[in-house]
């Protein structure tokens, strides 16, 4: 108590001092936001300025972010993957006992996949993009495990098929960048025709980079789910089959 009181007092006064010095709500001083808002649609033909920024103006940043995700998945895989154990998980064939819950769940799998694909495809026209669509699609796939069984989910636990796909997504991003380098311009320069504003054929390289990251994110999430499920579910197997 002797330390906590003065400590809280000190922290409180410093916090109040810091809060008083903050700019007012909605007070934006950075020039880039205003520049991008004016420039991205005429220059890149993508009606979603955020995507025009992340996949073109700041394309290298996004590549770095993609490799952060890649490194995270590699880390989880190194930590959790156990080749000797993966066969045991096949045993569980129990399904949800409630038909209504299963029906609603299956509808949500379809709906989630559809919305996920829509977010990916139209990411550079309306809000969305590869990351959001990818996580949503992976979540819909995971729901298949919840409403179905291990057997239904088996194709999505096949890490030997997922690993190369994940690499294809992450590597595809770099390949688009290198293609620009090979054609004599700077890394990740927008190569392909910019197309008509507001259609799927707009944005040039942005569309391809978006799909590359969509594949990378979907596979990364499905891989993560697969590794987690194997680690968490397998230790429960003997108990489940015994009851």
């Amino acid at each position: 108590m002797m330390v906590l009181g003065p400590g809280l007092l000190g922290l409180g006064s410093l916090f109040a001092w810091a809060m008083a010095g903050l700019p007012a709500f909605g007070d934006y001083h950075g020039p880039y936001g205003f520049v991008l808002n004016r420039v991205v649609v005429p220059l890149r033909h993508t009606t979603n300025v955020v995507m025009g920024t992340t996949f073109d103006v700041r394309g290298v940043d996004t590549m770095g972010e993609e490799f952060i995700l890649y490194a995270a998945v590699v880390g989880v895989t190194l930590l959790l993957r156990d080749e000797t154990r993966s066969k045991q998980a096949e045993r569980r064939t129990r399904r949800l006992p409630n038909d209504t819950a299963r029906l609603v769940g299956i509808a949500m799998v379809g709906g989630g996949l559809l919305v996920g694909l829509w977010l990916m495809a139209f990411g550079y026209i309306t809000p969305g993009g590869g990351f959001q669509g990818g996580v949503l699609a992976a979540g819909a796939i995971l729901l298949l495990y919840v409403v179905g069984s291990h057997r239904d989910y088996r194709p999505f636990r096949d890490v030997h098929a997922l690993d190369p796909l994940e690499s294809l997504g992450s590597g595809g991003y770099v390949i688009v960048g290198l293609a620009a380098l090979a054609s004599g311009t700077a890394f990740l320069t927008n190569l392909f025709g910019l197309g008509t504003t507001g259609t799927l054929l707009s944005g040039g390289s942005i569309a391809i980079l978006n799909w590359a990251s969509a594949i990378a994110v979907t596979c990364a999430m499905v891989l993560l789910f697969a590794e987690f499920l194997e680690t968490y579910v397998v230790p429960l197997e003997p108990e489940d089959s015994g009851s």
Partner: protein, 91 residues
């Protein structure tokens, strides 16, 4: 430059977030906490939408609604499974 002011809708969204965060911390049961955290995530989504940031809102929606609960629920399932097995051994 026009300085934006806090409109009532934004104030409500901020209020919900401020209300939700302590609720998550004060919930003791991990399973219930995972659910409360999901609801708190939705309040953050609402805040992002109100602040006209649809892209982070979508990211937040899928991360707080799908990715994060899975990791927590899976961890809870494992811990509870261990406890159950232990109980069975004692009996």
């Amino acid at each position: 430059m026009v300085l934006a002011t806090l409109v009532p809708l934004q104030a409500v969204a901020f209020g919900l977030v401020a209300l939700g965060a302590p609720l998550v911390v004060l919930t003791r049961d991990p399973l219930r906490q995972a659910l409360v955290n999901g609801v708190y995530g939705v309040s953050l989504v609402l805040l992002f939408v109100v602040l006209e940031a649809p892209d982070p809102a979508l990211s937040m929606l899928v991360v707080s609604g799908v990715g994060y609960p899975l990791v927590i629920l899976a961890a809870i399932a494992r811990v509870r499974g261990h406890e159950r097995t232990k109980d069975g051994d004692e009996r």
